[in-house]
Structures are given as C-alpha cells and as structure tokens.
C-alpha cells in the first residue's frame, strides 16, 4: 500500500494503519531493532512501541517520507533500550559498529569545547555529502542501521572484504574531516 494511503488510515484512526505499516515496513524495522538490541523479544517490543509512537504522532504529523520517520523512531527506542540493557548485554551489532568508530572519534576536549548537537548533525551531513552515493550507503547501513558486513555486501554488490576495506577508509576520512573542522583534536 502506498504511504499516503497508510497515513490516511492513521488519520481515520483505523487499526488497519498499524497492520499495513507492519506489512510494508515490519521486516526492516525488526532487522534494525534486532541489529541494535541483539534480542528478539526486546526488538519485538521496540517495534511495537514504535508503531504506538507512530499512532500518537499521526495526526497531527504527516510524515513524508514515512519510512525515514518510522525508522528514526525505531532506532531511537532501540538505542534507549540498548542503553538500559547495556550492563548486561555486550555483544550487539550496534555495539560492534560503535566500537569500530570509537578510535576515530575520541577526543580529549571537554564538553564545553564541543559544538552543539545541532551543529554536529550538520557536520555529519556535510561529511556524508563528501562521500559518493555507494560509500554513503555503506557508511549509513553500517552505522545508522548497524547492518553486518555481509548484509551490506549483499545490498551494494561487493564482497564482505571490500565493504570492510571501504569502511576503514571512510572512518579515516571521517576522522580527518572532523579534525579539520576542529571537532576532534
């Protein structure tokens, strides 16, 4: 079903809206949440909470595109749940993805020296703009969606080894980009 029709169902307060959302975006939402949480039950609950969030947000919102809006809710809720579970679970794909980034991001600057969160978003977007579409997708699939190398390789038509090499290069570029802009020392 088209997004516009799904949104119309939300506006009509029809339960069918959730069913159609799940039918269209459920697999992607579950995979994203599972990548972060590494626990099927937690992921299931997060996705259901995300549908509830969507139900509460529409109306008044009319998200366009719906997919990005929904995935952002799923990611936020999953990360919150992940942080709660953090002490107990140390093996999710999300954590592996973050660990890869850490050596390229750690800085000894104090929080006072750091630019505001909004400006950091802008900087991240400026960095993404420097990448070609394929590398941008590889980077986001790894660090936004926490996809495994194998899943990314299948999506972009490269080998896992190639994806790994590309990600190493992109992380280096990211470090140079942030250093150049004074965000990292």
């Amino acid at each position: 079903m088209e997004d516009a029709k799904i949104i119309r169902l939300f506006f009509e307060r029809s339960q069918q809206a959730i069913a159609e959302t799940d039918k269209k975006y459920g697999p992607g939402c579950h995979r994203l949440s599972l990548n972060i949480l590494h626990n099927r039950q937690d992921a299931e609950e997060c996705v259901n909470d995300s549908y509830l969030g969507l139900w509460n947000a529409i109306p008044p919102h009319t998200p366009d595109p719906l997919a990005a809006f929904l995935y952002k809710i799923v990611r936020n809720l999953s990360i919150k749940r992940y942080e709660k579970n953090c002490a107990r679970k140390r093996n999710s794909l999300y954590e592996q993805a973050l660990e890869e980034l850490e050596p390229y991001l750690v800085s000894d600057s104090s929080p006072e020296d750091e630019i505001a969160a909004k400006e950091l978003v802008r900087t991240v977007e400026a960095f993404l703009d420097t990448l070609d579409p394929e590398n941008r997708v590889i980077f986001l699939r790894r660090y936004w969606f926490a996809d495994s190398y194998g899943v990314i390789a299948g999506r972009v038509g490269l080998t896992e080894k190639n994806v790994s090499v590309r990600l190493t290069r992109i992380r280096r570029q990211l470090k140079a980009f942030l250093t150049e802009r004074g965000i990292l020392n």
Binding site: E114, R136, L140, R155, L178, L184
Partner: protein, 298 residues
C-alpha cells in the same frame, strides 16, 4: 567527543540520506563489472579528448563573473554542479546551466532563448517557482544578449536553518509575459528537477564567546555565506545587525544580512545568516566582528 554523541547526531540526519540508504540496491555483480568497464572506457575517451573535459567541467563565465570568482579559483569548482537541462515550448527555450552554493545558499544560473517575434529585454520576465526547497529567494535578469536573443537569469536561494545541499530541487517557470503591455505569450510550464550535489566548502569554528547577554556558539563560513549560531537572543528579536568579517589584508567584504531565514528554531540557538554578494576566500579571514567586538579566527 564520545561515540554516543556521534551516534545521536547520526540519528538526526536528514531524511534524504536515510531514504537513499533504504532504497539503494546495487546491480548484480556481472552487470556491475560491465558498468565498471564502460566507466573506464568513458574515462579513457575523456582523457583523449581534453577539449571535451574542459567543456564539461568548465565554469559558466556569467556565473563566474556574477560571483566575482577569479580565473584560477579551481578549488571552488567542487562547489559547482552542472545541470545542463533544457526545455522548449512556444518558441521559448529555458536552460538550467549551473548551480554554485553551500549548505544554506545556492546560486542557479539559467538562460532563456526567445524566438523572433517575442520581445526581449529584462522587463520580459519568466518567473520561477521553487519546489521541494524552503527558503527565501530572489530572481534577477542579469544580462540580455540581443544578437543571440537570450536572457541570463540568476536565482539565489538561501535558508539559515534548512539544508539546501544534496536536495533534489524543483524549479517551475509558469507562463511567460512580456513587452510594454505585459502580454501573455505562453501559458506553458517549464519544469526542472535536479539535485544540488555540489560540495560544501564551509569551515566551522567553535567559539563559545559571551558577548553582552548572549553567547556566540560557533560560526560557519563558506565562500558564499556566513552563519553565526547565537544562543540567548530574545525570542522576539532573533537578529544581530552588527556583524562582519575582517580579512588578512584589512578589508571587510560586503555582507547582505538576511538574519534568520526559515522557521523559528525550537531551541535557544538562532542561526544568523549573511550572504556575500561576491565570493570570498575563507582561508584569508583574519577575524569576525560581532557587535563591535573583534574575534580572531584560528
């Protein structure tokens, strides 16, 4: 910076990036190899034809002249996107030539060719309407070539808190009226759609300097614009009239101070926007001035 901060910022990037990552599917491997082979062949052909390469990557001279870009400013070419789209109807050909910009500013150069019988001067306007992009914009006829029967148009769009770079923007030219009596010569619509895929050459400098009763958090400066991120401006004001740049040679470039353009931000940080009518070299900036206080830049 902590990794979690980066992850949080990543979680708030624009929907365009996400949609690209969600919908992207590469061709299967064999076809990919063929594509690569074709790309290599195309690259070889380009290398053997220097004239072609210069033609493809070259500046539009009207754009360069309008922005005051010197002949050897090759580093700025990354901030240009070639559009090259053209449509003809009712004897009027509209061509979108090139766009130059940064994250919040874009200059788009277009030409309009008129067949014989249609009046030609800068009063005979063909007005654009923006699609998919929020922000203030101005539109000007900057040249008329009577021999070639062509008008050159400059469309400038700016937004202090919405990102223009990377957006797929739409421009529609609705109808055409001209002449002394403003007669309608065409009711056609010329529609264009293109992505602003140039590179932002901005530099960000964190400042965190308190002036009067507000805090200058940071400044972003590109060859085309400056944005000051100010915290603590009164909600009803949201403007700073006195800000500028001092270059290493002591000069101060003109700034068109548009202030806050776009939605009023939800938080307490206000982006104050200014545009340079003539392109500057951010590497040559000595300091910024805000409310009479000079702040040296590293």
């Amino acid at each position: 910076m902590k990794t979690a901060q980066f992850s949080e910022a990543l979680g708030r990037i624009g929907d365009d990036y996400l949609m690209e990552a969600i919908t992207y599917r590469q061709n299967p491997a064999p076809r990919r190899r063929l594509t690569r082979a074709l790309l290599i062949l195309a690259a070889l052909l380009l290398l053997t034809c220097a004239a072609c390469a210069v033609g493809y990557f070259g500046w539009n001279e009207d754009l360069r002249h309008y922005l005051g870009i010197s002949d050897n400013a090759d580093e700025l070419s990354e901030a240009v996107v070639m559009i090259g789209q053209s449509q003809t109807a009712d004897g009027i050909t509209v061509t979108m030539e090139q766009a130059f910009g940064d994250t919040h500013t874009v200059y788009i150069l277009a030409t309009v060719h008129f067949s014989e019988g249609i009046p030609l001067d800068c009063r005979t306007n063909i007005r654009p309407v923006l699609k998919n992009v929020d922000g203030g914009y101005t539109f000007a006829c900057i040249d008329v070539d009577e021999e070639a029967r062509t008008q050159t148009l400059m469309i400038n769009i700016r937004s202090s808190n919405k990102k223009l770079i990377g957006r797929k923007m739409g421009l529609e030219f609705l109808g055409f009226r001209g002449g002394r009596d403003y007669i309608s010569y065409s009711s056609n619509t010329w529609s264009f759609s293109f992505r602003l895929n140039y590179r932002d050459l901005s530099k960000a400098v964190p400042l965190d300097i308190t002036l009067k009763d507000y805090l200058v958090r940071s400044v972003w400066i590109s060859p085309a614009s400056i944005i000051l991120y100010i915290e603590g401006l009164p909600r009803e004001l949201r403007r700073i009239d006195d800000f500028g740049l001092i270059m290493k040679d002591g000069s101060s470039p003109d700034i068109v101070k548009y202030q806050l353009i776009g939605d009023v931000p939800a938080g307490d940080v206000t982006p104050i926007y200014g545009m340079f009518p003539q392109i500057i070299d951010p590497g040559e900036i000595r300091s910024i001035t805000v409310d009479g206080i000079e702040i040296p830049l590293p």
